[in-house]
C-alpha cells in the first residue's frame, strides 16, 4: 500500500461529485450566462457606451459574464457539497480520517476553483461566437490571476457558508442576500463610471468589483481601476479570508461538536 495525502482523494471526490451531475453543474450555468448575453446585448448594445466607445457593449459584457459564472459556481460547489454532507450525515466520512484543517481547506477550495473555472471556460467558449476577436487576450496572465484568485475567494466563502449553515434555507439566504447582490452590483453588466458618484463610491467597497474589473483588464487592457490596485485588494482578501477559514476549521466550529 502506497501512502499519499488524503486531501487529494477529497479533492478528487469533489471533482467527481460535480462531474457526475455536469448537466446541472456545468451545462446549466453556461446556458444561463448565454441567455444573459443574448438578452442584454440585444437590448443594450446600441444604448450603452463603455470605455469611451473603444469596446462594444457585447464584448464588454462577455468577460463580466465569464467571471460572474466562475465566482458563482465556485461558491456553489464548496457550499453545496458541505451542506449536503452535513444534512445527509455523510460528512462523518470526511471527519473520521486524519485530514487536517489545511487538507480540508485545500480539497474543498481547489474543487470549487476547478468547477468555477470549468464553467467559466464553457461560458467563454460559447460567447466567443459573439466576438471571436476575444480569443486573443490583451493580458492573459492578468486574466488567469484574477480568475484563480476570484474562484479561490468564492470557493472559500462557500466553505464558510457550508460550515455555518445548518439547513438549505440558511445557505440560500447567504447566497441570495450576500453573494448574488455583490456579484450583480460589481460591474458585470456596466462600467462603474456610468454610475452616479454615490454608487461609484459604494462599488469600491465590493471586493467582487475588483475581481471583475481586473479580469476584464486582461481581456482589453482597459479597466475602471488600476489593475495593480485590484490585484492587491483581491490577493489581500484571499489571504485574510483563507487565514480566517483555516482558523475556523481548526476550531472545529459547527463541525466537531
Amino acid at each position: 500500500m502506497a501512502l499519499r495525502g488524503g486531501w487529494r482523494t477529497l479533492f478528487y471526490k469533489e471533482l467527481l461529485r460535480f462531474w457526475k451531475v455536469s448537466f446541472q453543474t456545468v451545462a446549466a450555468p453556461v446556458l444561463t450566462a448565454l441567455l444573459y448575453l443574448l438578452i442584454f446585448s440585444h437590448v443594450l448594445e446600441s444604448r450603452v457606451t463603455v470605455f469611451g466607445g473603444s469596446v462594444r457593449y457585447t464584448s464588454f459584457l462577455i468577460p463580466g459574464l465569464v467571471m460572474m459564472s466562475v465566482l458563482q459556481n465556485a461558491f456553489a460547489n464548496s457550499s453545496s457539497s458541505l451542506i449536503q454532507s452535513k444534512i445527509t450525515g455523510n460528512l462523518i466520512f470526511v471527519l473520521l480520517p486524519p485530514l487536517s484543517p489545511l487538507d480540508l481547506f485545500a480539497a474543498y477550495v481547489l474543487g470549487a476553483m476547478v468547477r468555477g473555472l470549468t464553467v467559466g471556460l464553457g461560458v467563454y467558449a460559447v460567447t466567443l461566437w459573439f466576438d471571436p476577436s476575444l480569443l486573443a487576450l490583451a493580458h492573459p496572465v492578468w486574466t488567469l490571476a484574477f480568475a484563480l484568485l476570484g474562484s479561490a475567494i468564492l470557493g472559500t466563502l462557500g466553505l464558510v457558508a457550508g460550515i455555518w449553515a445548518e439547513k438549505f434555507d440558511q445557505l440560500a439566504a447567504f447566497q441570495n442576500f450576500l453573494i448574488m447582490p455583490l456579484t450583480f452590483l460589481s460591474g458585470v453588466f456596466y462600467s462603474i463610471h456610468t454610475l452616479p458618484p454615490f454608487w461609484q463610491s459604494l462599488s469600491r467597497f465590493n471586493p467582487i468589483f475588483y475581481m471583475i474589473d481586473g479580469f476584464r483588464y486582461g481581456f482589453f487592457g482597459l479597466a475602471d481601476v488600476e489593475p495593480m490596485v485590484s490585484l492587491a485588494i483581491v490577493a489581500g482578501c484571499t489571504l485574510v479570508l483563507s487565514a480566517l477559514t483555516l482558523a475556523l476549521l481548526a476550531s472545529g466550529w459547527k463541525l466537531r461538536n
Binding site: L3, T9, K13, G252, N257
Partner: protein
C-alpha cells in the same frame, strides 16, 4: 505497551445536559469490549470523543497511546468507527465509496483489501451498484466496510446491528469475531444485550454520563445479578415487591441473593396462600444486571 483505548476523566456538556461526567476507562489491545447504557447515557458522545467528532471539555482520550486531539492523525489512523446513523454518499457506487474512504486515509492501491472486505460482507455482487439502490442492511454493511478500509487496530461499532436482519447479524458477528481473533480490538455498543453477553469479554455500563459498572462479563453477572426465579402467580407478596426485576407475560422475575432465599420465598407464598402456577430457578443474564444498575427497562 499502551492500552488500545484510554479515557481519562472526560467531561462533555451540551447546554444543560452533562453528556459525559468524568468518564475514565481503559481497553486493552485485543479485547472485545462492550459499552452499554440507556439512550442518552453518553455512549455515542464517548465514541465521538474517541473519533475526534466531538471535543471533550476536560480530560483526555488516547488510542494506542496517541492523544485524539494533539496527535489526532496517528489516533485516527488506528481507529475505525461504524457510525450509528445509516449515512451514505448518494453520488457513488459501493466500490467508489470504499476506495474514496481508503484514499482519505492516504492509502492508494487498496483494491485487494477492498475486494476482501466486499467478500466478507457479502457485497461483491453489489460492488458497482450505486449506494442509493442498496437496502438498509446493505448500506449498513458498507458502513462496516468503510470503517475497516484502512485496517484499523481498534474498531468501534456503534449499534451496528440496529434494524439489521438476523442473517446479516450472524454474518457480521462472524466477521467481527474473526477480526478480533486476528488481534483487532473491538468496542461495541448494541441494542441487543444478548449480543453483548455472547461477544464481549468486558463491559462498561454508562448512566447519565457516568460509568456505573466496569468489569468482566462473569464478574458483572455474579456481582450484580445473582440468581433469579421466574414465578407465575397471581401476585407477589408485598415484602418481596422490591425483589421484582421485571414482569413478564403471566409472571414475575425476582432476584435472589443466594439459594437459601428461595426457601424464604416459598414460605412467604405459603403463608399468604398465594397459589404457584409455575416456578423456575434461572441463571441471571446481562439484562438483569443492566436493569439492576441502570434501572430502566428501555433498551440500551
Amino acid at each position: 505497551m499502551p492500552a488500545a483505548v484510554e479515557v481519562d476523566r472526560v467531561f462533555r456538556r451540551f447546554g444543560s445536559v452533562q453528556a459525559l461526567d468524568g468518564v475514565s476507562l481503559t481497553v486493552d489491545e485485543g479485547e472485545f469490549f462492550g459499552l452499554l447504557g440507556p439512550n442518552g447515557a453518553g455512549k455515542t458522545t464517548l465514541i465521538s470523543v474517541l473519533a475526534g467528532l466531538t471535543r471533550a471539555d476536560r480530560g483526555a482520550a488516547r488510542i494506542l497511546g496517541h492523544d485524539v486531539v494533539t496527535d489526532y492523525r496517528a489516533a485516527r489512523r488506528l481507529l475505525g468507527v461504524v457510525p450509528q446513523e445509516l449515512v451514505f454518499d448518494p453520488f457513488f457506487t459501493v466500490r467508489e465509496t470504499l476506495a474514496i474512504q481508503s484514499g482519505y486515509f492516504g492509502i492508494a492501491g487498496n483494491d485487494a483489501w477492498i475486494d476482501e472486505i466486499l467478500h466478507h460482507l457479502d457485497l461483491t455482487s453489489k460492488a458497482n451498484a450505486n449506494m442509493r439502490s442498496l437496502s438498509g442492511g446493505m448500506k449498513r454493511r458498507v458502513l462496516v466496510g468503510q470503517a475497516l478500509v484502512h485496517k484499523p487496530r481498534v474498531i468501534v461499532l456503534d449499534e451496528p446491528t440496529a434494524g439489521v436482519d438476523v442473517e446479516l447479524r450472524q454474518s457480521l458477528w462472524g466477521f467481527v469475531r474473526k477480526l478480533n481473533r486476528d488481534g483487532h480490538t473491538i468496542i461495541l455498543t448494541t441494542h441487543y444485550l444478548e449480543e453483548a453477553e455472547a461477544l464481549c469479554g468486558r463491559i462498561a455500563m454508562l448512566k447519565a454520563g457516568r460509568i456505573v459498572a466496569l468489569d468482566t462479563k462473569q464478574n458483572l453477572l455474579s456481582r450484580f445479578a445473582g440468581l433469579t426465579v421466574r414465578l407465575v402467580a397471581e401476585h407477589v407478596p408485598a415484602s418481596w415487591q422490591a425483589r421484582v426485576l421485571r414482569s413478564e407475560a403471566g409472571g414475575f422475575i425476582l432476584g435472589l441473593d443466594r439459594y437459601a432465599d428461595l426457601e424464604l420465598l416459598l414460605a412467604k407464598l405459603r403463608e399468604e396462600g398465594i397459589a404457584i402456577a409455575e416456578l423456575a430457578l434461572q441463571e441471571a443474564d446481562l439484562e438483569d444486571v443492566f436493569l439492576k444498575l441502570v434501572g430502566t427497562q428501555a433498551a440500551p
